[in-house]
Symmetry: D2
């Protein structure tokens, strides 16, 4: 059976012949001219050909041209506020379906029509995701591009809705094509080539990813799980564990030690919460002996927050003596100095527990990973002293890692209490750290 992409290509080829090579002024069409045509052309082949030309045109832009393109897309392809107001008044008057439709049409900015047209071209969906990635990278300097970001995100939310995602197990039997993407996309604990990947897909590990039917070779997000005995607290132990010689099933815990989004252009389209919960169900089915499901997660904002507190002349979370102890962190090898470690450990553990539990941004925790897992309904289970001795781990959180526990029987109550009352679920091992005087 010819794949859809082949067929789209053949349609685009057919349309290309119909497409006059030049615009009305006899010049080569510009990308923006093509976008204008993409909003209006009615034929399928010609429409596909134009969309294809937009895709190719976009892919050939350099950074400067891309900015110019986005500027035009922002200025010339927005909704018309006068027209919207006119339609809104007409709707208020008659409240008929016709006036509602006219209003809906008026509010739909032309750039979204361009995006929908692009989606029909070969590689259209992937190009749109790339485009949003490019826009997001420019937002800081060009805040007005949020209109483009918004238009794309809006479409992605509808297209990438949960009902269309498929969960796939990733194993050493998965195609090399997909596996090499895992190596590239792993964002939490970098993979060192095929041998490292192979270790992470051994019989005491699991890996799962979400895919979307329109991009069957592109994982959207993936999670890596270690099956271990007892809840793991140290990520190097997981990453460097030797390959098991025999398959034994003498484990009782599943540790989610890495979750990586693969598509920057899908930022803010949340898949992670579905993924973890669906993987928990899947693992429970495969291994009824599993008792505990927990992450082993970084605390990316701890050190930054801590340094902020230290730089203030006074902070309610630490006294002078403590402030002094923290000076030990100045040595780049503090973690190898037994005495420094002995002094730092109780202090950093207490401060980190405080940071995770009590430091907020609005109603939510300051730490982004905490927001994610608590929002999913997880509970903070335990802090792990020097759980990640990598350079990155030490820089982010003085090496502290945290376990978030997913207890399926509580996850929904936790979630509701968190969303509605801002309540942070914790387990007793963690609670003790909070009570430390």
């Amino acid at each position: 059976m010819a794949k859809f992409s082949d067929w789209v290509s053949s349609i685009a080829d057919a349309g290309r012949e119909l497409l006059p090579g030049k615009n009305r002024q006899g010049k080569q069409r510009t990308l923006i001219e093509l976008c204008h045509e993409a909003c209006t052309s009615k034929g399928e082949a010609m429409g596909t050909a134009i969309a294809d030309a937009v895709v190719r045109g976009y892919q050939s832009l350099d950074q400067e041209e891309r900015i110019a393109f986005f500027q035009q897309l922002h200025r010339e392809f927005g909704a018309n506020p006068d027209e919207i107001l006119r339609c809104a008044e007409a709707f208020k008057q008659s409240q008929s379906i016709e006036t509602y439709r006219a209003l809906s049409e008026a509010i739909d900015p032309p750039r979204r029509k361009v995006f929908r047209a692009i989606n029909m071209a070969p590689n259209g969906t992937a190009t749109l995701i790339q485009m949003r990635k490019d826009v997001l990278a420019l937002l800081k300097d060009h805040p007005e591009f949020v209109s483009i970001d918004d238009g794309l995100k809006n479409l992605f939310i509808s297209w990438f809705n949960r009902g269309f995602l498929t969960l796939e197990r990733i194993s050493w039997k998965t195609s090399a094509d997909i596996l090499e993407k895992l190596i590239a996309y792993e964002a939490v604990h970098e993979m060192d080539g095929w041998d490292d990947l192979r270790r992470r897909l051994a019989s005491d590990r699991r890996c799962f990813a979400f895919f979307h039917p329109a991009m069957e070779d592109e994982p959207l997000i993936f999670v890596q799980v270690a099956l271990v005995k007892g809840v793991a607290g140290n990520v190097q132990e997981i990453l460097e564990a030797p390959m098991p010689e025999v398959d034994d099933h003498d484990f009782d815990s599943a540790i989610f030690y890495s979750i990586s989004n693969c598509q920057d252009g899908l930022k803010g389209i949340s898949f992670g919460n579905f993924l973890i919960k669906q993987v928990v169900v899947e693992l429970q089915r495969e291994f009824p002996q599993l008792k505990k499901f927990a992450t082993l997660s970084p605390i990316p904002g701890f050190r930054r927050w801590l340094d902020g507190e230290r730089s203030k002349t006074s902070s309610p979370v630490m006294n002078g003596a403590e402030r002094q102890v923290l000076e030990l962190l100045k040595s780049p090898t503090w973690m190898d100095d037994a005495s420094a470690v002995e002094q730092l450990e109780p202090l950093l553990m207490r401060l980190c527990a405080h940071y995770l539990h009590d430091e907020k941004r609005g109603a939510e925790p300051l730490d982004p990973v905490a927001r994610f897992h608590l929002g999913n309904g997880a509970a903070i289970a335990r802090l792990n002293w020097l759980g990640d001795r990598s350079e990155n781990g030490l820089r982010q959180s003085c090496g502290v890692l945290v376990n978030y526990a997913y207890l399926l029987e509580n996850v929904e109550q936790n979630h509701e209490a968190y969303v509605n009352e801002g309540q942070v679920a914790t387990l007793s091992a963690f609670q003790k750290l909070l009570q430390t005087p």
Copy 2:
């Protein structure tokens, strides 16, 4: 791997336990109360459980309750015109992304939130399609339900976009589960059970269907093709042809003799044009010897139009003598009377050609099937006298059938000329009938 539907079910089960059995008045929740909750609840499991309760509740309604439910959905779940106007004015003022988002939110009626929530429940998508089917059947008596129709159609257009459809060949190796649906859904030439189906899937026939990944066992539309020598003009010859004894490839034409939409609830979401063109590409790849691709199509509006003209005191398309000849149609067995047939044939063929080519509804042909194929870029190739002697064929079009030709090299020009200039493409055999004095 657990399927998504299993997992959704387990989530719904989990949520159900959280869901208080009663509303705040201590009574069993009504379906409408559940819908209100579906718009607001934030937890995933609880949200899924509520959506699941809506699905089950809806499925248990009788016709009267269903009407009452739709009335509430229409009245209580619409957009708020005052709010919309307020947001539109704010947007006009500031033209910021925030005011745009507020306006977008205001224009999105709560009922669409309900529908999106339902889509997350087990069998959610299928229930929504069923719901729209029910609404469409009530529209005549309840025109206000167009608001519900509109909300659903709007979502379906996004979800069922072409990029997500997959073309599948249907053969005798397809699962019985899907094949029995073909028997049920065949709308053009009814199938008489499994033996009839088997004939239609023999080596000189082809059948293709579109599927959507969220409903993998439910065809959306399918087309049946006969591979024959010369363009076929008689549908009974196709349906009753004996099974071929050996596979021979001595054919040069592919005749699309039946296209059936399977989902009434997806009315107006067009798949047919993609389907035919994709199947043409597919067949050309499999059988390079194919020279002609044409439909063998009914003319559903011909007789109705003809009877209209006959009932007028005078009509520009027929003179008195001709009007007299048409009286022969009163005999229920006219087609078996050689003399009647001899007089009727030239007259009806001319009138039918005129009807297809020149009778319009606005800029488009009056005949709905003609509108569909001409809109796709096909050309009217030939009329076939007594091409369908079935009761239905005689009643609709005095037994006349028409071939619409799909010539890939012209299909896009035809389409553009039709859409932009209302031009009807014809081939010479048909043109002659138009020139008959």
Copy 3:
């Protein structure tokens, strides 16, 4: 990817052009001449073309020609006893690998070379199976054809060895192509078309089949299972049970109520024992709540044996009064006569238990179905009075059915005890019938 069969066809086509149309006498080759060439030709394409010609030639034979063909195959394609003896003496002398190979070659009859060549032709394997079926049907009148039967069976044992079989679940999602074969092959309780089949594939039923990779659309054997509460004793209750409205899992027993071999030509190549045991493992995995696995089996030889005893002037298994009671069986409606049933039941149940347990053919039970299940390691669990009221059931066994229980923990001991000591395993419900005075 081109399938092997396509490729073999293209090779055969290529070879056909090389193949001289005539033999050395300038006449059309006979089938036997082709067989002689099949043993000697060395080229691949030519060899395949010759094999293909043999396949087509064989398929066109009528019954008389077939007998003549088998006679030649028997006479002209046997091993040469003188040569064998010569080789055996040489081997005895030297005991070298060369003399062993020469002996092996001598003992391999040319007809087996013909069969191996045929196996390379398109549809070769299926033709060989058909050929053995034809031979078996002729054995009674042509006992010498056992040489052909033997040659084929010998090859089949190697080709169809257990390691190459795959177990597949058959469901309503299976292809119609395979399902129609189930309807045709069902040997125990005839299926009445697609509706009956669909019932047998509902959510409270299971069906499994063995397939061989070289014949992927041809089931070799299949078993039908009913999932019920309590061990079922009546087959009509199973066959006529209404479709379940909802999927409930309120069952504790799996009843194997029908096992059918599909290929007559594979007679004596045993698959059934593997099938039942593998299905038990499979069902236990899917439904851990299953407690009992039992067949509901016919007793095909009971009535024949009973009539034999009745025809003797005296029999140790029945006294005069009992002999009198059995006269009631003469009425064709005895099972509807309450009084007759009351007298017959205890007597027939006791006699049937005796028949199954104590009547032997050599060391094994007289009843063929009993031999099969007891040989697999099953135990006789229970007799069911009027468990099969169909015409066939009454004729074979006065309507009595038997449950053979498969208790995985005992099945291997039972098997060993049966094979080595001829011991028949029984459960207590059945044992009581044996003790009836």
Copy 4:
């Protein structure tokens, strides 16, 4: 669906419990005792458990124990010559099927029964292949083990017959599990890890392998093809060609530049000829523009033969001056010395052509690769001067490579002429070298 291997494992587990841990002397069973039991035990589970024990036992042997094991297998598990002779005489006497069967049984050595039993164990087939590999490696020192080799090969020929093999395309979408085996098994031009592999699977390359259904993750043989413009003569150019930037189809030739057998234990079970021809059919279907199909092959025996001739005091193939020129080969860098190359090229090309075409071993060419391709029906097309400058290429054949052309229209005639008359097919470019004075 539980896989067969799972099920076999569960059967083996069941049987293991039945299996007395000790032999009759109360000692741990030896491997040979287990083999004796494997020939006689009748129960399925117990049989599988014994076979499984044999597999595990075999895998734990060290080299010395393995030799001892093979010696017992050779001595104690052979056919009985007296019994064979007795049966052969009985058969000659009666020529009945019973005596034939007795003879067949007598000739089947007990070790073959052991092998068949092992084949039923988990990993049985793979263990047997390993066993033959071990035997082959010992044959030189233990020629008597040919009896074991013979018994295994005999079974493999039946099990791995062509009808059961499936051709699969290997691409970058193939599972990593299989791809890493390609890296390991590549025998002709070693692969330098995953990047090198990826290059060999790019859009201008093809790779195909044969698989057997009983070992679905183990390729049996694979071939690597380069799609190029003009027949390639230099293998480094193929291996080092940069990745193509775009997919273009501007090629007309398919070059088979590497064929590797994967399973040493299947030596002598020929797959290569089927593979090449099936791949030619496959490639022609995908790329109708392909005009030429040729190998780029090593000439492994040329240098050895040449050195042999040089060591003779006189040789008919070279005169004294030529002999002098060949002295240039003594310099390890002769190929970088323009003058040496100029003198050597015409001479070595002529001698190599002579070697391939006229030097025989019996009726067949002396060169093993030539025997393989000519036996398949290929023709010698061309010699390529310094076509392989690798160390191995220079050592084997002074860097000369040869193209064997597969012309489908001639391949069968060539094959027959080669087999029947020893005729070597050549194309004109090669013929010229033969005629060089």
